[in-house]
Symmetry: C2
Subunit: 461 residues, 2 copies
């Protein structure tokens, strides 16, 4: 593309617009939102916050790296002048990965290593591993129906995320049951371990981990993700040879309860101190990856949104709060602890916005509410469209803020472009280099814009 | 993000949906569009087409590489079974870059090289270059007003693209006049050469080239882009030393007229053979870069859209045509030649859709039309939203298809996420690796969807 003719005669842009409000009276809505947009895109502060968080490394809940991120984000909040910055205790169950070795054995040409990673929460294998024939299935029901054919086997769940759906979160929802419940379904048929195809739309050599559950009433058996490339190779070998044996060693184990923290900081409301609008993401990540999109991005956006709101000449009417939640990945204990904390007794949470779907181009928000609230929210679509918001529709808010929904708080999730998310999700590719500074910033700006409206006017009716 | 609770109980997705129409009666619209989406996302054919085009290398109009791309895309059209595949002659003015050397001279520590690239169409310097004091300006008017202060100088245009606007095409439109007309504005004050800050929002060491014009009535002087990092260094040196001298050698020159081609292939209409819906992009790129987003992407999407439409059980009512235009970058001669070709005499062009804003997440279409046509188009927003289209709004169609507008053809541009475009535009970073397969494919699917509606129903009224 050369330069665009229709824009040729526009004047050069001026500097950032600062709104004209005073300490007592807020600026007009359009002016306030324009200021958030202009200051955000000029400064690109979210990327700086993200870089600082990622310096701690992968942040498995309960790990020293996660503690680093707690300290780091507390300091960032203090440095930017948030009020009542403090930590709130969360008790998480620390899990550690240990050694991983997965290989096809008994092949004429020698063993074939499989790119694999234990699933979060899995028990380990005995120290010398398990070696067994592999049986391939596509669904939990198929695994449960194996009966004696599953006994002593390694069950291999190989149903891909469907590629032909528009929204990759839908595709994930149609395949992730294998990862979460595959081990227990296979254990019901007497299996000794499971391998699960990684949850990604790409054929890649990176294994994608994620939480799994040992359901009650069936034996716990070890579970590992294999990369999609390894899954395809394993399926080919099964098709070729009929019988394939795999050796699996997982050194993973549950260590036990560990104390860690949510990090909380406020921009106190101009009038209604104890009415709260929460902006949040989760500080923890998996241990395999820097957690740039999942969910360093959400934490950085929440911090940046507070910074942008704080730059307005008038504080919003209600308190806007940043919460860095701990331990979303293995059960959302931080979100539950936040609601249970005694400090909540004197507060009323009006709304909470979480960003936990990646730092990609933000497209809109999903709102966990019914009519007529949804229609009322859509009166804000026009002003928010100037920040790039294209929809405000019914949907899930977020794992960390979901416990707030039971308190009458409206929970809302930022919804970005999903096309690239599962290229990086829960694998070593979730790095800072895959984050575009402006796309990340737009998410912060949209969160700040919606938070501004909620903090000024409350939930629309 | 772990797995999303609301999706947990959805059933696994089925295979791609093939619509139920016959050779004579088209399938219902929603079914046809669902088929385009499902087949496209399953096959991701656009990325394959793009890879094949990029194998030719950078494709400056008139160069052997561009001729390779002409032959390559003709073969791709033949292989996929398009009809009347043929070349249409275009005469372009070949320009070549030759040597580039730009450096700050006379510094105590020795010369400081500046990352630079001649602007397309620029004359070269004398063989031994020009060496002159640099004077910095922000606007064309400022350059024209230099008068004697510009005489014998190298004028340095250093007005950045404004960062604080949402749409980066707007930001580009507010800065690109320096690149296009900076040389002539400076020549009016007697300057001997110009350096222009690269058109990107990033601080980077890559120079971004692009077309410039030697306006009539003023002397032609050499013009080069400098990287944004080099521009910042040069500005710092000027601030520090007051006087800074630069040596510039550009070996670029206009070679002369060369014959090359547009590439055309049809999916003939079921009923109205001579009523045409064009889908296009441009085959040429700059010589510095592989032209993945600009505009290999648009060509690949047009080819893929035809492939998807051809897979429908019923051909659309009107002819849908893929056109790979030549020479968008230095003046749109291919687009003009297409309209002027005698073959057009027996055809009526209903609509033309161009993709030339990058292969990023597609968000909607800009339509060069007035009311009530725009409102009529928006009746299609609901079915097209199932392909991810978020708007159908008034706007420019595209450089290559713009000459068709004068024939009564409605011209339409695919509009993707603009946030990442100027990171890669006209520089060496515009590579295949920066293209996401699914985002690229969605653009092809959206083009196919809108083309299907236009080919079945004509321009809505």
């Amino acid at each position: 593309m050369p330069f665009l003719l229709p824009f040729l005669f526009l004047l050069p842009g001026g500097g950032p617009t600062r709104p004209a409000g005073t300490a007592d009276s807020p600026p007009p809505v359009d002016q306030a939102l324009a200021s958030l947009r202009s200051n955000g895109l000029s400064d690109l502060g979210a990327f700086g916050f993200l870089s600082r968080i990622l310096e701690c490394g992968p942040r498995l809940a309960g790990s020293p790296n996660a503690a680093c991120a707690v300290e780091r984000t507390r300091n960032l909040m203090v440095d930017m002048g948030l009020q009542d910055v403090h930590l709130e205790e969360v008790t998480v169950t620390l899990w550690e990965r240990g050694k991983t070795d997965a290989r096809v054995v008994g092949l004429p040409g020698g063993d074939l290593p499989l790119s694999a990673a234990a699933l979060g929460g899995s028990i380990g294998t005995p120290a010398d591993g398990v070696t067994a024939e592999v049986i391939q299935v596509q669904t939990l029901d198929e695994a449960r129906a194996l009966g004696d054919r599953g006994r002593g086997r390694i069950v291999f769940f190989n149903r891909p995320m469907p590629t032909d759906v528009l929204d990759t979160f839908d595709a994930y929802g149609k395949a992730a049951d294998q990862r979460a419940h595959g081990a227990s379904a296979a254990a019901a048929s007497g299996a000794v371990a499971v391998l699960v195809r990684s949850m990604t739309l790409r054929v890649s050599d990176l294994p994608h981990t994620g939480i799994m559950h040992h359901d009650e009433g069936v034996p716990a058996i070890p579970a590992a993700a294999v990369s999609t490339a390894a899954a395809d190779r394993l399926a080919s070998l099964l098709a070729e040879h009929g019988t394939v044996r795999v050796h699996l060693e997982l050194g993973c184990r549950t260590v036990g309860p560990v104390k860690t923290h949510n990090v909380v900081g406020d921009l106190k409301g101009r009038e209604l101190h104890d009415e709260i609008v929460v902006l949040g993401g989760h500080l923890d990540s998996w241990d395999l990856d820097p957690g740039a999109h999942d969910d360093g991005a959400g934490c950085a956006q929440a911090l940046e949104a507070l910074r942008l709101l704080k730059e307005l000449p008038t504080r919003p009417r209600r308190t806007v709060r940043a919460v860095m939640f701990m331990d979303e990945e293995s059960g959302g204990t931080g979100g539950k602890a936040y609601v249970a904390d005694p400090r909540r007794a004197r507060e009323r949470h009006v709304a909470a916005i979480e960003s936990d779907r990646g730092g990609f181009l933000p497209l809109g928000f999903t709102i966990l509410a019914e009519e007529p609230v949804l229609t009322a929210f859509n009166r804000w679509l026009a002003p928010l469209s100037n920040l790039g918001v294209t929809f405000l529709r019914k949907g899930y808010g977020g794992v960390d803020i979901h416990p707030l929904a039971a308190t009458g708080c409206v929970t809302i999730g930022l919804y970005p472009d999903s096309q690239r998310y599962f290229d990086v999700h829960h694998c070593a590719a979730d790095t800072l280099e895959t984050v575009n500074e402006r796309e990340l910033e737009l998410g912060a700006i949209q969160m700040a814009g919606l938070a501004y409206l909620l903090a000024e006017d409350g939930v629309p009716k």
